[in-house]
Amino acid sequence: MTRARFEERLFGTLRWVVIAFLALITLVPFYYMVMLSLKPIDALLVDPGSMWVSAKDLTAATYRDVLKSTDDGGQGFLKLMLNSALVSLGTVALTLAAAVPGSYAVSRLRFFGSRQVSAVFLAVYLFPATLLAVPLFVMFARLGLSGSLVGLAIVYVAQTVPVSIYMLKNYLVTIPYAVEEAAALDGCSRLQTLRRVVLPLAAPSLMATGLYVFMIAWNEFLFALLFLAADPESWTVSLGLAQLSNGVEVSKTVLMAGSVVLTVPVVLLFFAAERLLTEGLTSGADKS
């Protein structure tokens, strides 16, 4: 067998081994999470090695327990999810409101400091979040914003705006400038051009960016821990789950149900939008 043939065979086989391995490591942990959330804690303790739920063990009580409000003896995750949703959606709206004009300016306009501005914004990520945490904590305490979801959303905006500008800019530069010139000739002001021509064309990128920001805000943990830990009423789901898993009083399978509840919204959104992102909108915009 020649070397070429040998390698062809070898890598042809290895490829399937790798594919199987990847499927295993990405899917099994999530299957494990869902599976554990559907069985009572006794079943887990009796047979920790089992990877399925027997029909007689199958239960949804874990979900009832985790979602029920704390007054009814549950863990009140419904309330926490509402908090998370408010913070995340607020962050997405504010971030896009700031990032759309910002990225447009960076990609299209020449202004004082336009070269440096991206570098300055990206430098945000050079500093560890723990470094920002102390002064922010004190500042917010003075402004009366500590323990409030508004303060948290503002911090998230600062953490997500740079990457949003970067993502949007990369898309905006692919929109032909001729489209905008045409709009200007038709009498659009710059803002009208932005709103009526550029934004519709950039819709896929806006979706992608918004989704990414939502994901970051929904999943964030450190700032939520620092700002909200003392105030269980305004906990986000991530924080609530982390705080509860430290204790022993809530059973692990109930917390697994909490993990599923925390994970499902992000994953659903992600899969729903993955298709949207593939639709190219610019194609043909420049033709005749």
Partner: protein, 338 residues
């Protein structure tokens, strides 16, 4: 912010009006000056947020690092207290600082290299279409998309010595004698052909977690780049008799090198500053006390704001220095290869 020609905002943002105090409405602005004003007005909201929530806190941290500040008295404290270098001498002299820095470096390098490598392997495997590729590609992003709190919790449960599936299967299938406490074992003695090796088990587990969680990120970038490589390049190499590995080494890799370099830098920065993964998995115990967790400990258990700030600052300097070295020595080579 919204209207470009509204006088108030434009005046603040734009360059100074011409001297002489002539009424400005008389002279129409040139196109480039209008563009300048529009640009500044458009970036000002972003700039404002970044200024208030990032730049000001960083400057304040620098000030705090040189002062003796505890969390209780910081509220009433002025900006400028008594200057001292005490925090820095404390940080360098404190027990565990250097070992923590070493741990951070091992963790960062291991996680960065591992995730980029696994991402590369994944991108190569999923490059050509096969049945179910779209589904697998989507599900491969799951570790990256899912909330960190949820996935660390799953890992904790799965690796638990009492009720974890890994230990149970390890005992049944591989015949382990005792359950292995993956997340709380500082050193695990392994007998390998008569050699005794102490594995830093908890640290390795945390690195494995990080590789698992972030390889999809590398995978996405690398797959996109791979699919942009024109087929003709490889076809030409095949005609010339290049084998699969030779085509990878001499055709694909040079094309991928710039992306790989960028990914390494990005992942290095992100992992170096990473807090939540390690904190949630081990709490920084069992030899996983990476620097970010240490800063958090200084802050919350000792309430020593000054020392926390000084330590965070030292870290930022170390990171900047490492990046400087990287760009000085490697960036050029990568560009040449590209």
């Amino acid at each position: 912010m919204t209207t470009i020609d509204s006088r108030g905002t434009a005046k603040q943002a734009g360059p100074r009006p011409p001297a002489g105090g002539r009424p400005r409405a008389r002279r129409p602005l040139t196109a480039s000056r209008r563009e300048n004003r529009a640009g500044l007005a458009f970036v000002s909201p972003t700039f404002l947020v970044v200024l208030v929530v990032v730049i000001v806190p960083i400057l304040w941290t620098v000030l705090l690092a040189f002062q003796d500040a505890k969390l209780v008295d910081i509220q009433g404290m002025g900006l400028f207290g008594n200057w001292s270098l005490e925090n820095f001498t404390d940080v360098f002299a404190s027990a565990g600082f250097w070992s923590s820095l070493g741990t951070t470096l091992v963790y960062t390098v291991g996680a960065t290299a591992g995730s980029v490598l696994l991402g590369l392997v994944a991108a190569l495997a999923l490059r050509r279409p096969f049945r179910g590729r779209g589904l697998l590609r989507g599900s491969m992003l799951l570790p990256y998309v899912a909330p960190v709190v949820a996935v660390t919790f799953v890992w904790q449960v799965a690796l638990s010595p009492q009720y974890g599936v890994v230990n149970e299967w390890g005992r049944d299938v591989f015949g382990w004698d005792d359950p292995v406490a993956f997340l709380s074992t500082r050193q695990y003695e392994v007998n390998l052909l008569g050699w005794h090796v102490d594995l830093p088990l908890a640290l390795l587990t945390v690195i494995a977690f990080e590789v698992w969680r972030y390889f999809p990120f590398a995978f996405l970038f690398l797959l996109a780049r791979l699919q942009a490589v024109p087929d003709t390049l490889e076809e030409a190499a095949t005609v010339d008799g290049a084998t699969v590995s030779q085509r990878f080494r001499h055709v694909l890799l040079p094309q991928l090198m710039p992306v790989i370099a960028l990914l390494c830098v990005l992942r290095f920065i992100m992992t170096f500053n990473k807090f939540d993964d390690v904190y949630l998995l081990t709490g920084g115990g069992a030899g996983t006390d990476v620097a970010a967790v240490r800063v958090y400990e200084f802050l919350t258990s000792r309430f020593d704001v000054g020392a926390a700030a000084a330590q965070a600052l030292v870290l930022a300097v170390v990171l900047t220095a490492l990046l400087g070295v990287y760009f000085r020595f490697f960036a050029k080579r990568v560009q040449e290869e590209a």
